[in-house]
Symmetry: C2
Subunit: 328 residues, 2 copies
């Protein structure tokens, strides 16, 4: 008996701040969308209940039922054993350790559940429907609180043996650099993420360097974040400009590594820091031109993401359709 | 009309010291083999003539003719535009710049010619017939004068948009490190290659550190190379042991990056330095266990290559068979 083509996949993107759920068509169109706060400090069960409520609201909004779904895709950051559907650990969900999320959600919803790293999901979405269309080989980099990545090789998402490939934020670029929470040292994330930018800004303002930054946060220096540094840089604040330029330079060093290793057609930059646009990308592009192998440097274009905050849910849904395979 | 299944591919591995040619069966068996010196200081045409003579001798030895061949695969180090068959530059062949080797050889021999980076060829050979059998995702690292690499993702050689992926020796692991000839800085190759080991040894012996090394080269310190340092380390020479341990540690840092980025099943180490065996691999494995993401670190095995010096020709031949595709 033919199962028939399903109309949609359900996708949930679990972020540190909010849970985003969406019904997505096989073409990647969002049919309906809902969100709620993550409130990650609450118990695991409370967060899972919010996942279920948000999912249910998304279905109601579109007048659809579980039986019409191809499956559920869940995108989130962290150390995921995607093959077994287990959340080993997640920076967004401090209390989650070895949670068998796939099994839990399958039991609750009665559909196939797929777990996918959020940056991998975004890479897939950008490749199929965004800034990566037509690229056979590409790298997606999310520069946000942390730095994550997703890899497309030979037209397919490459996720490694356990599904945890793409941790490009945790490549050492400074072997003598500080220890990272991940256990490694001198990671790209420590030098080029939003957290790194904020930390550097707070340190230097505290040290007495003059800047608009303290005004922008009304003297509450602990409120300085990468977005605020971006605003100050946009207004020409020299300290803020210097900090962004340094982070962009480090990001460029990371990209040189990726260009020499992957010889990709495209590098797509998403995440909160990507809103800085060319202020972030132009110095990174310059470093790639200056340092990477010439042929590879000439062949790569480094561009901002197109799907923005929806990349996670769209990618998680497309992952469901791809994993479920063609219908008979 | 059916072309019929060809009996063999011809493969040539152009090294800095010697040219190795082989006839290889579709199963990867070497039917016949010849070599000659590269004499890379001579003119491009002289080297190409030696390629042709060696190829011809290899055919004669097996009583075979060009018409029986599937094609010719040429493996070599350097910046190759494999898609167009052009040798942009090669460390082994100083005078070679933008040489259209594929076109030249096609014209001389009248068969299909494929150019492949030598580490990519070795990766393919090890994956199909050596230490990488059965691995869907693996990285091959050659640690020799330089450091090169080859990548298998989802059961296929991954070579990037121009065919120059895999330059893992030229990832920055020390952002404040010295400038590399490649244009980048703080490259893994500067810290963990045979050249790095020899340079460090010469510097430290010259500086007066006591060691068997000067005896081993009868006082001609400029003759110290990685092989000699390996011999001294094997005999327990503390300086030599320290130098090898440092290089192995840096190699481990590079592997951590690869493990976090690729989540591979296997990392295979070939090249001259791999003859050091566990003296090189054990410290590198320890660094991976200590620093890489836990799940990925647990899933990777780091092993020596199996095909040794023949990996290049076998891989180049297998590349010919794969590129030529199935016969009708």
């Amino acid at each position: 008996m033919s199962r028939g083509k399903k109309q949609a996949a359900l996708a949930i993107d679990i972020g540190g701040t909010k849970i985003l759920a969406a019904l997505v068509s096989p073409q990647g169109d969002i049919i309906s969308q809902e969100y709620c706060l993550t409130l990650a400090h609450e118990a695991v069960e409370a967060v899972i209940n919010r996942l279920l409520t948000t999912a249910s609201n998304t279905l109601d909004k579109a007048n659809m039922e579980i039986s019409q779904l191809e499956g559920l895709g869940i995108a989130m950051a962290g150390a995921l054993d995607t093959k077994r559907g287990i959340v080993t650990a997640s920076p967004n969900l401090p209390g989650w350790h070895n949670i068998p999320l796939k099994d839990i959600m399958t039991e609750k919803l009665g559909i196939e559940v797929y777990l996918i790293n959020d940056a991998n999901a975004a890479a897939l979405a950008e490749n199929l429907l965004g800034a990566g269309r037509g690229a056979h080989n590409m790298i997606y980099i999310t520069v946000s609180t942390g730095i994550g990545g997703g890899i497309i090789t030979n037209d397919r998402l490459y996720s490694g043996v356990n599904g945890c490939a793409g941790e490009i934020g945790h490549m050492t670029i400074d072997v003598n650099g500080p220890k990272c929470n991940c256990g490694n040292s001198g990671c790209l994330e420590l030098l080029a993420s939003g957290t790194a930018v904020a930390k550097e800004a707070i340190t230097r303002v505290r040290r007495g360097e003059s800047s608009q930054l303290s005004e922008l946060v009304a003297g509450r220096l602990e409120d300085i974040d990468a977005r605020i540094v971006g605003i100050a840089a946009d207004r020409g604040d020299p300290l803020a400009c210097d900090i962004i330029a340094k982070a962009a330079n480090y990001l460029g060093v990371g990209m040189v590594n990726l260009v020499n290793i992957f010889n990709p057609e495209r590098i797509i930059v998403g995440g909160g820091m990507s809103h800085l646009g060319d202020m972030l990308l132009e110095p990174a592009r310059r470093v790639v031109r200056e340092r990477a192998f010439q042929l590879a440097a000439q062949s790569v274009s480094i561009v901002p993401s197109q799907l923005g905050d929806n990349a996670g849910v769209i990618g998680a849904a497309m992952f469901v359709f791809q994993s479920a395979g063609p219908h008979t």
